[in-house]
Amino acid sequence: MLKTRIIPCLDVKDGRVVKGVNFVDLVDAGDPVEQARFYDASGADELCFLDITASHEKRDTLFDVVARTAEMCFMPLTVGGGVRSAADVRKLLLAGADKIAINTAAVTNPELIAELAEKFGSQCITVAVDAKAVGPDRWEIFIHGGRTPTGIDAIQFAKQAASLGAGELLVTSMDRDGTRAGFDLSLTRSIADAVPVPIIASGGVGGLDHLVDGVIKGHASAVLAASIFHFGTHSVAEAKAHMARAGIAVREE
């Protein structure tokens, strides 16, 4: 059977990992490629690079990072951040990315999802759904890295993205992101149950039980976390062992 995926996420700025970590055995902890190798060796199921580079000119550093990572790591790599067009997607895929996460451009122009899915296949188009609670069981989509509200209902947008051809949704609770208080399980489950495609739960992981909850209570197909792995609080192997004990099928080999 299919296993629940654990996906470490690295924030990359100007070609360097930020908000990172300090693994003692890394020569250069700020080098995304070194960190990718570390996660590759430690049994991560996929890896996600989120480019938070502000200036457009410096974005080209990302292509180099992706290319160098793809040479070293033979695992799926999702890249997101600032992707606006088919040309951006092609460049990242050619550099070695397997999946591309799009957020702002998908919200402002949903037709782009259909265009990209048709051109490159649904399997490589991940739509990032950044949502904030605006009422009981109501969430709104935010764009520009969570800074701009749109008035768009998150569940409706998730359904639309899936029907336009997104192969997967990365669902992030803007309320929980960085809080270490756990996923917004109600948001996660509402979207997971509303769409046929797999969803990745994101935002708020502070401990291993949160990962379990994301799957069992949130119905996610994959869980994404940053700080618990980066700061060495837990290893990917510990996370998998913990999930396995909770009855979740994971890949341990």
């Binding site: 629940t4 033979f74 799926p76 070695g96 397997d98 051109k119 649904s122 797999p198 197909s221």
Partner: protein
């Protein structure tokens, strides 16, 4: 190993990942040889081993190959008439079927009896695309096949697809996985092999399979 391995470039897919993983495998095992990424029929015809990657839709991939003058003929020549080891990956495997039903009805190479159909799990909790790591179940043929030497039942491979190849018979089935129902994971006959999963993304298991392919001298 093969003196020359050609990875066919027809504008589809993650060629770089496939080529890089083959290069890594060849270098680590000191196999020598040369990995060529090419969209030219002469390179395909001259290759000792041929790899056909593919991501995207069945019809688009076939159209991409057909758009290169003489490519489908060259592939048939090298894989069937010259019987050089041929590996299809993901849609590259699916193209070896007779028919693909993704976005309309399309013909494939017709080397394997069967068609490429949508994955439709009865349980709505099972998601499509079938995306992630799944445990391989090797058939009797698979266990004895050189491609799977050193790979055992239960080893995981990375999949991402919404359509799968429904074979007319199990004769050529090397491996399957379960996602609601059984899905074809690997096929093989004579010098032809195909895998639905991505060996170039399947860490150790995938690299082992690519190593086996490079060393395969049927």
């Amino acid at each position: 190993m093969a003196q020359t391995v050609c990875v066919i470039d027809y504008g589809s897919g993650n060629l770089r990942s496939v080529a890089k993983s083959l290069e890594r495998v060849a270098a680590e095992a000191d196999l020598g040889g040369r990995i060529v990424v090419s969209g030219q029929t002469k390179d395909v015809l001259a290759a000792d081993h041929v790899v056909l990657p593919g991501v995207g839709a069945f019809g688009d991939c076939y159209a991409g190959l057909s758009a290169i003058d003489g490519m489908v003929e060259a592939i048939t020549e090298v894989a069937i008439n010259k019987a050089r080891p041929f590996l299809g990956i993901c849609v590259g495997m699916q193209l070896m079927a007779e028919i693909g039903l993704e976005h309309g009805r399309h013909t494939g190479f017709g080397w394997f009896e069967g068609q490429v159909e949508p994955i439709k799990p009865r349980d709505p909790a099972l998601k499509v695309p079938h995306m992630g790591w799944n445990a391989l179940e090797l058939t009797g043929q698979g266990q004895g096949h050189p491609l799977f030497a050193g790979i055992k039942a239960g080893d995981h491979a990375y999949f991402v697809h919404s359509y799968h190849m429904a074979l007319a018979s199990d004769r050529d089935l090397l491996a399957q996985v379960h996602h609601g129902a059984a899905l074809t994971a690997a096929i093989g006959r004579d010098t032809l092999v195909g895998v639905q999963f991505h060996p170039e993304k399947s860490q150790k298991t995938g690299l082992k399979l690519l190593h086996n392919f490079l060393e395969w001298q049927p």
